[in-house]
């Protein structure tokens, strides 16, 4: 039954999600840290901006990214003329679009993780003569592991699951931008229901296993803490 099934779309989906998650992890760290500590009036504006992709229809986001990457826009022209980069309908373009699209899914759990840390724990690190970077890596991050795992897995899963933006920005070029979600859409359109069933079934199974892993980990983590205190 699985003979002759082309697994390339899945490989692409997971490559896209891995690269996106890796970039977003380091991109989100300073943003989430800053948001968790700042008391400036500008904070709600930044928070709203970061969270926009959650609310916006993927088609709206996809349209702006499409326009932004094309040579109709200053950004597209800059990339094409100076860096010789054409992001539209390429894997790199998908990565760039996914980074924008999945940004809030990394920032929000990280930010709430940082916010859950006691202010005094961070201050104790400063008082110990450590700078912000040392405090971040030796004190803050190790103490918000469940949040980091949630952020990473949700971002990964969300990128695997994206459809609208990917279709608009990447098209459906086999081996380049045709990820699993797009492939399933095409299979249904061409009425290849058998393959669509297999693809979809695999997605359901993978998603469930991933989420089960996260919640299972966080449960054992919180039980460990409660158990040792009680």
């Amino acid at each position: 039954m699985f003979a002759g099934i082309d697994w390339t779309p899945f490989r692409l989906s997971f490559e896209l999600a891995s690269v996106t998650t890796l970039i977003l992890f380091f991109l989100s760290l300073p943003v989430a840290w800053w948001l968790s500590r700042t008391q400036r009036a500008i904070k709600p504006f930044v928070e709203a901006l970061v969270s926009m992709p959650i609310v916006l229809p993927p088609s709206v986001l996809g349209f702006y990214i499409l326009w932004g990457f094309s040579h109709d826009s200053p950004l597209g022209r800059l990339l094409e003329n100076y860096f010789d980069m054409k992001l539209l309908f390429s894997f790199e373009g998908l990565v760039a679009a996914s980074v924008i699209y999945s940004f809030p899914f990394m920032v929000q759990p990280m930010q709430s993780g940082f916010e859950s840390l006691g202010r005094s724990m961070i201050e104790a690190s400063y008082l110990a003569g450590k700078n912000t970077l040392q405090t971040l890596f030796y004190v803050a991050l190790p103490n918000i592991k469940p949040s980091l795992i949630t952020a990473t897995v949700i971002t990964f899963a969300h990128t695997v699951g994206e459809f609208g933006v990917v279709l608009m920005v990447g098209g459906s070029i086999p081996g380049e931008t045709k990820v699993a979600s797009v492939a399933i859409y095409e299979l249904v359109e061409t009425m290849d229901y058998t393959t669509a069933h297999i693809y979809s079934g695999v997605m359901v199974l993978l998603s469930f296993v991933v989420l089960l892993g996260v919640y299972g980990f966080n449960r054992s983590k919180s039980r460990k803490i409660k158990g040792s205190r009680g």
Binding site: M121, A124, S125, A128, K130, S228, R229
Partner: protein
Amino acid sequence: MIRIDIDKKLSAAGEEDMHLRVNLEIERGSFVALTGESGSGKTTLLRVIAGLERAEGTIFVGEERWLGEGGALPPGKRRIGFVFQDYALFENMTVERNLLFVSPDRELARELLEIVSMSSYASRYPATLSGGQKQRVALCRAMMRRPEILLLDEALSALDPAMRSRLQHDILRLHERFSTTTIMVSHDPGEIYRLADRVVELKDGVVLRDIDSRFALSENIAAESFLLRGELIELIEENGAAMAVVSAGRQLLKIALEDADAGRFAQGEIVELEFDTGCAKIVPKGEASQL
């Protein structure tokens, strides 16, 4: 000599601007208790000394300028030990790592844990310790930089009386062993008398009293030892006699009421207890002064 002369706006919600204006000279090696109502600026003063909050003015520790022209020395550059009320231990590190994170001096870490009898807990994680044990570790961690000034921000107020007494002993030993200057925020007269040699009381951001801690004690004898204020928890009847259960200080007291008084009190009322040659008598708030 430590010279503090600062001015900081305290942000009190809804009220007019209040300023913390404090001018203090503290002798090196002395033990100062900082007391006053909540919101009087005690914690802020401590945080300004530590460099955790900005302020106008100057702080000199000996010849070293911590605050003044040319800005403020960052907290990490001041030789400060700070003990928080909520311990603030690094949960991801063992007891020993918590200490070594501050300074890699194993010898000192071992000695400090020895002093507070926590040596056998060196490889434990903070989550497995009791509140008193955590605060002893926090105290050791604060000493790891051999601080010029040790700051205790209500460090013992979350602990039960037995553990408090234990930690007071530890604090005093560390204070003497490392000849630090110690400034402690405290509300507990017993604690202040036991540890401090000077009491500074703040009110609305300014120094209200600045006295030798022995004088603070004698005033307390006159004002409080014979008169205890408490809350009336319940009125009960025992063997036909009316009794009042009163919560005063850390004690729950049961006191017989005189028949004439039986109807005068209500549950939840604040009452005063007079101690007159060994007999306790309960009277409504304010009436004790008639005697």
